[in-house]
């Protein structure tokens, strides 16, 4: 009986496992079903013929994938290889964060997703012609995450030239960042490495490593191999020596010869990589040189992956919704200036931005992820620190199409009057309407100035006649803006918002990235969130609780005395 039960359980377990892996690895033959699912769920972006030109594509960046070229960014396979079926299935299932590709795990059954994989492959003949399965990246040499590895990775980050596009601290603000285009000629922004939640193929160390080795086919990100990997074919010591020699103003004869030798070795290895990519058969000796070179690349890539991993928080911050509102902390005395260490101790509230897609001209492709906000207040004033990442510092650029001046900017929006009670309507979230809003408008060209506006609609804003005593200071460093603003809680101006401790005030944001063509209504924004001057906790909390505790002790002793007396009386 017992054995039968165990056997039955084992069979059930086997079936479950079987279900999960039934489809792993290979898609079925392309069928009418796959075409149907594709045309119903995918074609509006990727196009009926898979060219990435569906009706929605026009407004999207990153552009939907063109399946006819066989170029796939997110793969588990080596450079120049096609993705595995499982790779395609995973992308459909999980979507691509930071782009308009959603996860299809709930909308399409696993079967349908496999059918779509099979159908997508029909757009590119290379899948049919391939004689061997694509070569997968070997992950076995993983270097565990450790301080030493991160340090090594950090040095490589500069050595390999990652800085050029991804910037000094990884915010995607490198000098060549604005000029990058993909295979199809579309703008291709380098990743902001501090925002792992926007990595299209996931932000696990393995994911990052795979992007290095496999490259992001079709984008500006090269695979680590051959001439796209400085020092290819050299050992770690040799490549550092090569850089050292390159940086010397003058070399001795011996050094010149040494340098020439290193370059010869590098060139030879690069040639082999090129030959291999072109399909030339390698000799045993060449193969050895290539394998040695790649083992150095693999190890360096693991260190670099660990470094990139160290740049990002573990997960995306929680948006400031629900009870997680922006709470300004009370302090006594002067409010902290912009560089004060007091800001470090505060946790920022996170306000994710979305494109303004309501009023023409619209912004469908935001480049600013979010605004992070911290705030302090005292008895008379309130201070804010707004922090947001922007890959480019644009102060005065002319839009080729419209002739308008493009520049980076931020606007903070409040209602003029705080809605009284939970059912009172707020002004329309897009710069008000029937009910007006009160705005602080900051522009990168005048970083130490904030203008007060009143608006009754996105195209109906005016500068306030009476500009209050608003102090501001703005900076741009390493792809990040910081704006510090200070204002009195109460002002004489009726068009200003008056602030009071403990009152929940609606707050919203608009931001402009000049380099992304943002101007006027074309911008990124939030809907209404909530902000409060957190009331100073009542000092009663130090009086009543101990009092009650003391009373309870008294009561217990009293009760004991009472019982004792009664017992002795009874006796």
């Amino acid at each position: 009986m017992r054995i039968r039960t165990i056997a039955l359980l084992l069979i059930l377990f086997g079936m479950l496992v079987g279900f999960n892996f039934a489809h792993a690895q290979n898609a079925p033959e392309a069928s009418e079903k796959g075409k149907q699912v594709y045309e119903n769920s995918c074609a509006h972006c990727h196009g009926i013929e898979g060219r990435g030109d569906g009706s929605a594509a026009e407004n999207l960046l990153p552009k939907p994938r063109d399946f006819t070229r066989g170029l796939y960014k997110i793969r588990s396979t080596e450079t120049g290889q096609l993705p595995t079926d499982q790779d395609l299935f995973d992308i459909i299932t999980e979507g691509m964060p930071g782009s308009s590709m959603p996860p299809w795990d709930t909308a399409l059954s696993a079967n349908d997703r496999w059918e779509v994989v099979a159908y997508i492959k029909t757009f590119y003949d290379g899948f049919k012609e391939a004689e061997t399965p694509p070569k997968q990246i070997n992950l076995s040499g993983k270097v565990p995450y450790a301080e030493q590895s991160v340090e090594t990775g950090k040095a490589l980050y500069t050595e390999l030239g990652c800085v050029e596009c991804h910037g000094d601290v990884g915010r995607g603000d490198g000098t060549s960042a604005p000029d990058l285009t993909d295979e199809w000629g579309f703008q291709s922004w380098p990743a902001n490495l501090t925002q792992g939640w926007n990595f299209r193929g996931g932000s696990d160390t393995e994911d990052i490593f795979k992007r290095f080795i496999g490259g992001l086919a079709g984008s500006a990100m090269p695979a680590f191999e051959g001439d796209s990997f400085p020092g290819f074919g050299l050992t770690a010591e040799e490549s550092s020596r090569m850089i050292e020699l390159d940086n010397k103003d003058e070399m001795t004869e011996a050094e010149e010869e040494e340098s020439a030798q290193l370059y010869e070795k590098y060139d030879a290895a690069v040639d082999i990589a090129v030959n291999l990519a072109e399909g030339t058969e390698l000799s045993a000796e060449e193969k050895q040189i290539y394998d040695d070179a790649m083992s150095v690349v693999y190890e360096k890539s693991w260190h670099l992956a660990n470094y990139v991993k160290s740049l990002m928080p573990e997960k995306r911050p929680e948006p400031a919704i629900g009870n997680n509102v922006l709470r300004s902390q009370y302090i006594q005395g002067e409010l902290p200036e912009m560089d004060d260490a007091a800001w470090e101790t505060l946790e920022a509230s996170y306000f994710p931005l979305v494109g303004q897609v309501v009023i023409e001209p619209r912004q469908f492709n935001p480049t600013i992820d979010a605004v992070n906000v911290k705030s302090y207040y005292n008895d008379t004033e309130v201070a804010f620190l707004f922090i947001w990442d922007d890959r480019t510092h644009t102060t005065d650029e002319t839009d080729e199409e419209t002739g308008k001046t493009l520049e980076d900017a931020l606007a903070i929006q409040f209602p003029v009057k705080v809605p009284q009670g939970p059912t009172a309507p707020k002004p329309y979230f897009l710069w008000g309407g029937r009910l007006p809003v009160y705005l602080w408008h900051w522009k990168a060209s005048a970083p130490d100035q904030v203008t007060e506006l009143t608006a009754k609609g996105i195209n109906n804003a005016g500068v306030q006649e009476a500009q209050g005593e608003l102090q501001a200071q703005g900076t741009y460093t390493n792809g990040q803006y910081k704006l510090w603003v200070k204002r009195a809680l109460k002002t004489d101006d009726k068009k200003d918002l008056q602030l009071e401790s403990g009152v929940f005030v609606p707050i919203a944001f608009s931001a402009w990235d000049g380099a992304n063509g943002d101007v006027d209504t074309k911008r990124v924004m939030t809907s209404w969130y909530t902000f409060v001057l957190e009331p100073v906790p009542s000092s009663k909390r130090f009086i009543y609780p101990p009092l009650i505790a003391l009373l309870s002790v008294g009561f217990l002793f009293g009760l004991r005395a009472f019982v004792q007396r009664r017992n002795s009386e009874e006796a």
Partner: protein, 258 residues
């Protein structure tokens, strides 16, 4: 084994019931029970216990015996000492947590569905009464399937150039901008949405957007744009055809029961 005292049994019943309500029903079975309902049940249980022990004098005496013993007798000294520390500490913590609790923003008491105006308009043009207006292209579904298909296709195009950022590729309200909007965009795959409304209602909501919502039932906080500023009348009707065609749900027609 010694039978536990009446007091212990009552205590076990009390604590056991609370754990059952809070963690078994509310947690494992996951039927959410409001705190006030739990408090009501607990009150009833306490009353039942009080009734039980006061039925007979002997029962009451048995019930209070361990309490009295703990208060005075030498053999219970350890119990006594623990309790005289524990009870004030618990009270201290509890009152502190109540006083120091920080205020949270009021939740929004929102009606699920706004009541539409009597007349349906596009910009300033009156189309008809909300009850009577029908989708002018709906009849193609029977009369001219080819023309119907063309209208649905056009609706699909309009949807993917304007709506899908928030309402999603799958019309499930999970577009890539959706997670950061409050309230969330409508989910057309929800069986309670399309079948409950006439097409004229959808036309009204699309044409007038968030700002066109009625004065009653605020705050709506809807981020829905005023689409009559961007889309033609025909485009709005086409997109409505697409919504029902893609999801497979039929709009309510007037006179039909809910």
């Amino acid at each position: 084994m010694k039978r536990p005292s009446l007091f212990t049994i009552c205590l076990i019943i009390l604590v056991g019931s609370w754990i059952f309500l809070k963690f078994v029903v509310g947690g494992i079975i996951s039927v959410p029970i409001p705190g006030s309902v739990i408090a009501m049940y607990m009150g009833l249980i306490i009353i039942a216990i009080l009734v039980h022990i006061s039925v007979e004098d002997s029962l009451f005496r048995e019930f209070r015996r361990p309490i009295l013993e703990t208060l005075v007798e030498d053999k219970r000294r350890l119990h006594r000492r623990v309790l005289v520390v524990l009870i004030p500490l618990l009270l201290l913590g509890y009152t502190y947590s109540i006083i120091a609790q920080r205020a949270n923003p009021p939740g929004s008491p929102r009606d699920a569905h706004p009541s539409p105006p009597l007349e349906l308009t596009y910009k300033d043009e009156v189309i008809g009464t909300m009850q009577d207006v029908v989708n002018p292209f709906r009849h193609y579904e029977k009369d001219d399937p080819e023309a119907f298909k063309a209208h649905v296709e056009n609706g699909k195009r309009v949807y993917h150039q304007n709506c899908f950022y928030c309402h999603g590729d799958h019309l499930d309200g999970q577009g890539h901008f959706a997670p950061y909007l409050q309230p969330l965009p409508a989910n057309f795959q929800d069986p309670g949405i399309i079948p409950n409304f006439q097409e004229s209602f959808f036309f009204w909501r699309i044409a007038k957007g968030g700002p066109g919502l009625p004065a009653a039932g605020t705050p709506w906080d809807s981020a829905m744009p005023i689409w009559e500023n961007t889309l033609t009348k025909d485009e709005i009707w086409d997109v409505i055809l697409f919504l029902s065609d893609y999801t497979g749900y039929q709009f309510r027609t007037f006179g039909e029961a809910h």
